[in-house]
């Protein structure tokens, strides 16, 4: 039986008149890899700060390991969250960070941290202030991996990392996750690179959840139908449309929902091309500005 480790309902965080997180319901299961996806400013970091007790919600209920996270040491010691904009004490170096980490994370693996430092070629004696964006991301990634916390958050772990480093992160995360299963939440707006890693997708936009589904379901869930405008329109007439593009007499429409065998045969008869939609394309369709509001509501309710 999978256990629920996080349960939030109606979570809301306001900053003055701006609502950063708007009545969000979510649950996280034990030992799964979640993708918290959305555009910049969608509310990803705010949600993570709420779940880790760094921020107090204005409304809603939240349980992490069965109780509110804020100010509960027994919950917080099971969580690791190094924010993308994490602040460090004056004159701190990565060495200081890794030295202090085992005081706070009981499962800290110093050997793993050392290997990762070598992999990422992180200059551990350099002051945090002087690190490049990618090196700063590497510090967060190393703490996240080596802490082996039952719930680990990675906030934009790819920010500034080069291709090799991104690959290392990807590999090490899967390796370590296989040996030490835990709940991982990855927030990112670079979706395609980690798409295959994710087991569950939570897509947020403007503080609301647009999509909260198993990743495999999401991957096969949308299709782009392309062909002559009239034929396309007749094919998609009674289907939920999430994206629409057209050029002259041609149209390309993205629809939500799986296509059955009969649908595919009919599409072939109409001379339409069917193409799978990548996670990234799907999310662009769902959070792009051309999106019509009704579809959003339906998706949120789904």
């Amino acid at each position: 039986m999978t256990r629920t480790v996080v349960r939030g309902s109606g979570l809301t965080k306001r900053y003055g008149s701006f609502t950063a997180v708007d009545a969000v319901d979510l649950t996280l299961q034990e030992n799964r890899i979640y993708g918290l996806l959305g555009r910049n400013g969608a509310g990803k970091t705010t949600i993570m700060q709420l779940l880790t007790g760094q921020l107090f919600p204005n409304a809603g209920e939240l349980e992490v390991f069965g109780r509110e996270p804020a100010e509960h040491a027994d919950v917080l010691r099971r969580i690791c969250f190094i924010g993308e904009a994490q602040r460090y004490p004056e004159n701190f170096t990565p060495t200081h960070v890794f030295k202090a980490a085992p005081w706070f994370f009981e499962h800290w693996d110093a050997g793993l941290a050392e290997r990762l430092v070598a992999d990422f070629r992180l200059p551990v004696k350099r002051r945090i202030k002087k690190l490049s964006r990618g090196q700063l991301s590497a510090v967060g990634v190393i703490v996240g991996l080596a802490s082996r916390a039952p719930i680990t958050f990675f906030d934009e772990p790819y920010l500034g990392l080069d291709a090799v480093a991104r690959h290392i992160f990807y590999d090490r995360l899967l390796e370590d996750y296989a040996e030490h299963p835990r709940t991982v939440v990855l927030s990112t707006h670079l979706i395609d690179e980690i798409a295959n890693l994710l087991e569950h997708i939570i897509l947020i936009d403007q503080g609301r959840i647009l999509l909260d589904r198993d990743a495999d379901e999401v991957r096969g869930s949308a299709t782009t139908v392309a062909g002559a405008r009239a034929a396309v329109e007749s094919f998609v007439a009674d289907r939920p449309v999430i994206g629409r593009e057209g050029l002259g007499g041609l149209a390309s429409v993205t629809i939500d929902g799986r296509l059955g065998r009969a649908d595919r045969i009919r599409a072939a008869e109409l001379g339409l091309e069917l193409a799978p939609v990548s996670l990234q394309q799907l999310i662009v369709h769902m959070t792009g500005t051309e999106l019509d509001a009704d579809t959003t509501e339906e998706e949120a309710a789904a």
């Binding site: 760094q54 917080l76 994490q86 200081h96 202090a100 005081w103 706070f104």
Partner: protein
């Protein structure tokens, strides 16, 4: 959504509460120069300047009575102001970091308060001892009054007590005010600043209109030096408690 019962927390705490508080102290001390190194550099620098001034004045055929004027130098207090800045930074940056590492605000408050007490004890013991050394060596051999200045020089215990009280007070004030900023940002700082000014003006006005100033001075004279610093120590305690209530809902930047 599946309605599975939330996993009850398994209480496997091997760590004691003491560890959880002590790790905050260690976090502050991980870079020991900040709390324990730089204050000594400042004190050493002030001492060197005092010595040089004494030598210059001495070479101008000044009498030991002239050097008595050095008793009004504030050099002995110089590390205290630096430590206020440290207190401010400890909150602004280390608080965010400690929360990121899963410390509670309560433990951060307890650990940082303990750190403040340790630093105050260290500085107070050191300064009280240096006062005695200065007296014993007759002003480092040339009649300098750097440590044996202001109210210092009665005895070791009084010097220790007064330095400790003042140090603790300024550290807690620095930490509290920074936390007000962390929690309420600029509006909070403005309210605190103007609120403070209004309170002081109101107190001055009340004392002036009721012509109570002589009574106030009499009271200070009656409680004496140690009494005045006991008032400061009580104030430090009040600031520490107030700080706790502010930090309970503070959020990192």
């Amino acid at each position: 959504m599946t309605a599975v019962a939330a996993a009850p927390i398994a209480r496997t705490e091997a760590r004691s509460r003491v560890d959880e508080i002590w790790r905050i102290v260690r976090l502050h001390a991980i870079n020991p120069s900040i709390f324990f190194g730089v204050p000594w550099l400042i004190l050493g620098g002030a001492w060197a300047v005092s010595m040089v001034i004494a030598v210059i004045v001495g070479s101008a055929n000044a009498s030991p009575e002239d050097l008595e004027g050095m008793r009004y130098s504030w050099a002995v207090l110089s590390p205290q102001w630096y430590l206020v800045v440290v207190g401010v930074q400890a909150i602004g940056l280390t608080f965010s970091f400690a929360l990121g590492f899963g410390a509670t605000r309560r433990d951060f408050w307890l650990g940082t308060s303990l750190m403040f007490v340790l630093v105050s004890v260290e500085m107070a013991a050191a300064i009280a001892t240096l006062v005695q050394v200065e007296i014993a060596t007759n002003g480092w051999g040339i009649g300098v009054h750097m440590f044996d200045a202001l109210w210092y020089g009665q005895n070791w215990l009084v010097d220790f007590y007064t330095t400790f009280a003042l140090q603790l007070l300024v550290l807690f004030i620095g930490a509290s005010i920074t936390t007000v900023y962390m929690r309420w940002r600029m509006p909070g700082m403005m309210i605190l600043l103007f609120g403070g000014i209004v309170l002081v003006l109101a107190a001055v006005a009340a004392l002036t209109f009721t012509q109570s100033w002589p009574a106030v001075f009499d009271w200070f004279a009656a409680i004496g030096l140690v009494g005045v610093f006991t008032v400061l120590l009580v104030k430090a305690f009040v600031w520490a408690v107030a700080w706790y209530f502010v930090i309970r809902r503070a959020t990192p930047r």
